[in-house]
């Protein structure tokens, strides 16, 4: 009988900080380059027009065993994905993701940040995680009784001036990643503290 090209197996999605990667196992074919084609449908398509599947913008076709599906997911609803293998004129059956993927399940990890002092100014530089992110930044002086201050830094606004400070004082900062599109935020980053140069002014 005619050899049938096996379908890719073990489809999974790895999603960290709203970057979504669909992965699957290779279809082994001796000394041949197998291509893969990825398609998706959102909840609307699956409910109202289940025959409609949309080719992934990045991987139709691809040689790799993974596909960046970030740009394909543009709503906070469950998405179905399917992959098939192609070798010359042969195409395998479709393999479908076992459970639909919803971007609200992405793993949110705190942003990398760099806290510096410029003269007497406390400045924070935050990792660019994309337009969907905002960063609640909490900062405080280590003076006894000092209050915490919060500033929300929009994506792309970094670096940001947080505060003009007292010479000789120590200021600490921590930040978290917030995504309104899914209504969730990460844990806080590790706290970073900097000491302002110069001597504390003697009390008059």
């Amino acid at each position: 009988g005619v050899a049938v090209l096996p379908a890719p197996q073990n489809l999974t999605v790895l999603s960290i900080n709203m970057k979504h990667l669909l992965m699957w196992n290779a279809v082994a074919q001796l000394r041949e380059t197998v291509l893969y084609s990825v398609e998706y449908q959102g909840e609307y398509e699956s409910l109202y027009m289940s025959h409609i599947w949309i080719p992934s913008s990045q991987c139709s076709p691809t040689k790799g065993l993974e596909c960046d599906i970030t740009d394909d997911i543009t709503a906070t609803v469950p998405y179905n994905f399917r992959v098939r293998a192609m070798l010359g004129s042969q195409t395998s059956a479709w393999s479908t993701l076992e459970r639909p993927f919803n971007r609200n399940s992405t793993v949110l990890i705190p942003p990398r940040m760099e806290v510096t002092e410029h003269g007497l100014h406390l400045v924070i530089k935050l990792e660019d995680l994309g337009p969907q992110f905002e960063f609640p930044v909490v900062y405080w002086s280590q003076e006894p009784g000092a209050k915490e201050h919060v500033k929300v830094v929009k994506s792309g606004d970094s670096p940001v001036h947080l505060e003009t400070m007292e010479p000789g004082a120590v200021y600490c900062v921590k930040a978290q990643a917030l995504v309104k599109a899914i209504g969730r935020h990460s844990a806080f980053s590790q706290t970073q503290c900097v000491e302002m140069q110069g001597e504390a002014l003697p009390l008059a």
């Binding site: 449908q41 959102g42 909840e43 609307y44 398509e45 409910l47 109202y48 027009m49 409609i52 949309i54 080719p55 913008s57 394909d72 543009t74 709503a75 906070t76 609803v77 609200n104 969907q132 309104k180 599109a181 899914i182 209504g183």
Partner: protein, 154 residues
């Protein structure tokens, strides 16, 4: 988030909807050659009170999901606008699923007022040839988004 009076909807980024519609606007609107008719006319969308807005947007978006978008796939594939169409349809789906217009009796007059506006839209839609009406309604999504923008808060 959207605030249609008492109805709140989070998790939808309005700029994503505009981006999606803008990507297909010229393709969609050039299919509509009946320029003398407007479905979302001013009597439907102007001076809508906050209290009415939840009822009206719920009716309009459900109509788009159940009638306009549902009957549009043949064009979607033909014009290669699947991705943008999917973005719009799935985000409208999210909004409708999060809208819960009040059923209180004391809101009856307000819901009826919103319903009269919606019926104006439906009447205009039904007076047209179905195919032409679908094309026009789809082309008027920018009018709908412009109105919805009034209720969007960053």
């Amino acid at each position: 988030e959207f605030r249609f009076g008492p109805c709140r909807v989070e998790g939808v980024v309005l700029s994503e909807l505009w981006e999606a519609f803008s990507a297909m606007k010229s393709t969609v609107q050039t299919q509509d050659d009946i320029t003398s008719v407007r479905l979302l006319k001013s009597q439907v969308l102007h001076n809508v009170s906050d209290a009415e807005s939840c009822y009206l947007v719920h009716s309009l978006l459900k109509f788009y999901l159940n009638t306009v978008f549902k009957n549009y796939p043949s064009k979607v594939a033909k014009f290669k606008i699947s991705k943008s169409f999917s973005t719009l349809a799935n985000n409208f789906f999210v909004i409708v699923s999060k809208l819960h217009p009040s059923k209180d009796k004391d809101m009856l007059s307000i819901s009826e007022s919103a319903h009269r506006r919606f019926l104006l839209f439906c009447k205009a839609f039904k007076q047209m040839d179905t195919e032409a009406a679908l094309v026009k309604a789809f082309g008027e999504v920018d009018i709908l988004l412009t109105w919805m923008q009034n209720f969007y808060h960053l």
